[in-house]
């Protein structure tokens, strides 16, 4: 079996990701189509929540991805800090806007579910609050990358910021267990079958989760490829600027001799 570290080579990553990208994108489209048709059109209303149960199929996968994308960024940040593999830092950078989008979707759909069920779109519940802080960490992480010109310094600082924010990713995941208060319910999916939603909702929900995960993977590959190319552009421009400086220096030297 090939080592995962082979992906740290940008040329090899570009080759492998070019092959994997169409499969991830196709799989995402298929899973999202199946999940949408099944979840939106073919599931019954819940006996207590009525048709708002259909929000489950976009709220749960986006919230799940929001936390897991942050976890992936944290792992990539550790790899960058320990082993200095550029692809890992660029993958974390590429993942951040997708994670921010997933967190925004989870917050927005949660508000639209909360209004009819709780009577309020927002409450300072532990899970909601930790999700809001997680969103702010995503935004801060993206802003920090944009603010620092040197890519290695940016990767160092954003990695540290990402690791600090990991606390809130963990709190977001376990807030309902840590603080037994607030309005938000517990997990909709669990390895313990007693906690799972009814089978009528369970399978379409799994299809949507698979669709969201593959969608993320496809976009992550696409965006990481873009970041690698951007880095190559920067290297080419710097090499060209150095060559021009050397040529001008040589011309000035020749003029002084003459």
């Amino acid at each position: 079996m090939r080592s995962i570290w082979e992906l740290a080579n940008p040329a090899r990553f570009m080759r492998l990701s070019a092959a994997a990208l169409p499969w991830c994108a196709g799989g995402a489209a298929l899973a999202l189509l199946v999940g949408t048709v099944w979840g939106f059109f073919l599931t019954p209303d819940d006996y207590r929540q009525g048709s708002t149960v259909k929000i489950l199929f976009v709220h749960v996968p986006s919230a799940l991805m929001a936390i897991n994308i942050y976890a992936m960024m944290a792992v990539a940040s550790v790899i960058w800090l320990v082993r200095r593999h550029h692809v890992s830092a660029l993958a974390a950078k590429a993942a951040a806007p997708i994670g921010a989008a997933m967190t925004a979707i989870a917050l927005a759909t949660g508000a639209m579910w909360g209004q009819p069920m709780w009577g309020a779109p927002w409450v300072w519940d532990p899970r909601l609050t930790s999700f809001l802080i997680l969103f702010l960490f995503y935004v801060g992480y993206i802003a920090l990358w944009a603010a620092i010109e040197d890519p290695d310094a940016a990767a160092d600082l954003t990695s540290v910021l990402c690791l600090v924010g990991t606390v809130f990713a963990v709190v977001s995941r376990y807030a309902v267990l840590f603080w037994n208060q607030g309005l938000h319910q517990g997990a909709s999916l669990s390895l313990d079958a007693k906690e799972n939603v009814d089978d009528a909702f369970y399978w379409p929900l799994l299809a949507m989760i698979a669709g969201f995960a593959l969608f993320f993977l496809a976009l992550l590959l696409l965006r990481t490829r873009t970041e690698i190319r951007r880095r190559r552009i920067r290297a080419l421009r710097m090499a060209r600027a150095r060559a021009e400086e050397a040529r001008e220096g040589a011309l000035e030297g020749a003029a002084d001799v003459a």
Binding site: F40, F41, D45, G50, S51, T52, K54, I55, V58, H59, S62, P97, I98, A101, A104, I105, A108, T109, M112, W113, Q115, P116, F215, L219, L222, R223, R225, T226, R229, R230, R232, I233, L236, R237, A239, R240
Partner: protein, 53 residues
């Protein structure tokens, strides 16, 4: 045809609409940026001499 969502139509359609719009925009911007950067690199590499391997 849309299922009957009763009095929650606005909330359910709003949630799905926001989700599709945000995911669509992220995918669209990522694809546009990917194409722009790829073309920029191709143009730069066409001008610059190839790096020795």
């Amino acid at each position: 045809m849309l299922p009957d969502l009763g009095k929650y139509t606005l909330y359910v359609l709003g949630s799905w609409g926001v989700t599709l719009a945000v995911l669509g925009l992220v995918a669209l911007f990522s694809a546009i940026e990917a194409r722009r950067v790829r073309r920029e690199l191709e143009a730069l590499e066409a001008e610059a001499p190839r790096r020795p391997r």
